[in-house]
Symmetry: C2
Amino acid sequence: MAEANSRAEALIQSVTKKPGDYSPGLEGVVAARSRLCQIDGAAGKLYYVGYAIEDLVQNSSFEEICFLLWYARLPRIDELENLQKQFREYRALPAEATTFIELLPHTSHPMDALRTVVSLLSTFDTNPEKSPEANLHRAIRLTAQFPTIVATFHRLRQNQKPILPHPKLSHAANFLYMLFGKEPEEMVGKVMDASLILHADHEMNASTFGSLVTASTLSDIYSAVSSGVGALKGPLHGGANEAVLKMLQEIEDPKNVDTWVEQALAKKQKIMGFGHRVYKNYDPRARIFKEYARRLSEKTKFSRFFQVNDKLEQVMQARKGQQGIFPNIDLYSGIVYHQLGIPTDLFTPIFAIARVAGWTAHILEYWQDNRLFRPNAIYDGPGPRPYVAAARR
Amino acid sequence: MAEANSRAEALIQSVTKKPGDYSPGLEGVVAARSRLCQIDGAAGKLYYVGYAIEDLVQNSSFEEICFLLWYARLPRIDELENLQKQFREYRALPAEATTFIELLPHTSHPMDALRTVVSLLSTFDTNPEKSPEANLHRAIRLTAQFPTIVATFHRLRQNQKPILPHPKLSHAANFLYMLFGKEPEEMVGKVMDASLILHADHEMNASTFGSLVTASTLSDIYSAVSSGVGALKGPLHGGANEAVLKMLQEIEDPKNVDTWVEQALAKKQKIMGFGHRVYKNYDPRARIFKEYARRLSEKTKFSRFFQVNDKLEQVMQARKGQQGIFPNIDLYSGIVYHQLGIPTDLFTPIFAIARVAGWTAHILEYWQDNRLFRPNAIYDGPGPRPYVAAARR
């Protein structure tokens, strides 16, 4: 305990800003304590509750990761089976929710649809109970429902009938089944499962932090999760994988990379898929995803995207030298999804399908020792002055 | 400029925490710069863009305050008239939105309904433009629509036909008209207008901060505002005025105050309507609202609530002595609304109808110099450890 405390204190010292620093975007400011996720930015390592992300992708499943994040330990076999059973039970949406989704304009961004339906689901929850158990139950149900919301909206906007959840498939494979109407190949199901594991949590990222700010007023979990969806939508966060694909389509060919990068840097344009507030080394998730992208690109006609990315990485690292600007996960997730035949505007919803596990785990954890988020602003407007009547302005 | 900078630096010094401090809830931490709102917590003063709240309540209107917050200056007469015209034009909801509201369960909390409809409105916005002008336009339209959303849902849940917005009335009076179906008395309209002015902005409160976190990913204004609604719902924030009224109903009579307070403090129960993270003196909004509550209570049968509150204030101040625990705005807003015949669960939505002006003003301001909110967490979970196969757990 004393050791844990002194380690925590050392960490506080290392990450807390000096007095007098106003840190835009709260960079380097500690906003919460958490036992869920550890990022070693310098070493390029990511751990969920102490387990390295590489081990988890190799050995675990998204369902097991949900258990790990919600209970802060790995499940016994019966516990995992029980959670899988709950997931399968809750996958189907209430009929009223499907009716609402049918009414959404087909042109809606799927993230807008998802945020609206999450918010809507609160109105069907008539349980007044606010205990940790009741909220964990809501977290399980919401996580189970996310893929169904996304797939249902996607089918309906294409004038296709929604596909009911498969009673046997895993969370990841069932999502692909509900999107495309057929069971995915094993390799494809595994890639989607890995993607969900890799995106499940990432410490105080903007959407998790936003969901905690909402939760901290003791509002409900639907409010907090819809804040998360809304924040994730932005191109500086979850929306980045969508932007990467647009960039790749613009570059088109590995031979155009040099010129494209030169022009982009000259225009001070942000190059998507590179750099991260926390990682000062290769993003470990990008490394794993790059391998999937390579393997998939060998089998499909999209190998050019992989080659563009690979070249882009070399050019960026050569330019930035030792201080290196490294790829982040978004550089490779987009091409993986593209190779699986997933429409570009579903990339960020897939991120949400994974991250809802992290949002809800952080919300439940924060509520154990809740404190309202209420920072200050530096006022830099005019000083006190008398009111002036309209005619004299 | 130099003077403004050095004033800003002095402020930074005074409010920024010392290194090594982890400040739960970001208390005392600077999260942004803003020219919109200044709270002098020690003196119990509140200014919008330099104008004291007392002057604004006396001389201004909610519409003028919206202009003040969005443009950081008071409008000329023609500018104010133009904004009033826009508000009247945008009050009516798109027909599809009304259809959605009709489908919401009547038992929904009005804040859940409001959050869902705000989120939904994004799906009808087909303008791809993201310029500051386009977003200001969205802010004006959303602010104009808020009272209509709340009143429409309230009428429908009572199986009453929604009332179309009045083409002539002010923002505040029209809201009461849409709720009750008749034009409010002048004094009542003025009280509602004052309430909207008093609630329009309050620096880095949790819901404004939450909407900025969402906005900072460069997500859209609907996402950011729905985060604000979700955060405001919580009883540690906007939900407090609802909780105050429940407390008053429980106390029932001024003669019960002493015993009730004694018991509540013994149980370490939070006494709603007292204390504030920033005000260490009488909340200036509470002082103004108390006067309205007193005036209204002379005319209605609800004077007992006012007497309970007044007694509660005396008892709390006597108990806490010099360090005084002062009333905040929530102590008096609830009884004012109750006296106007407004159902308890619409108190927080009225707060939202006012605060949407502040949320949108802060969002537009923050986007002028945007920086992603991405703080850190202190990790206090287990250190790196090997994965353990399920059978051996």
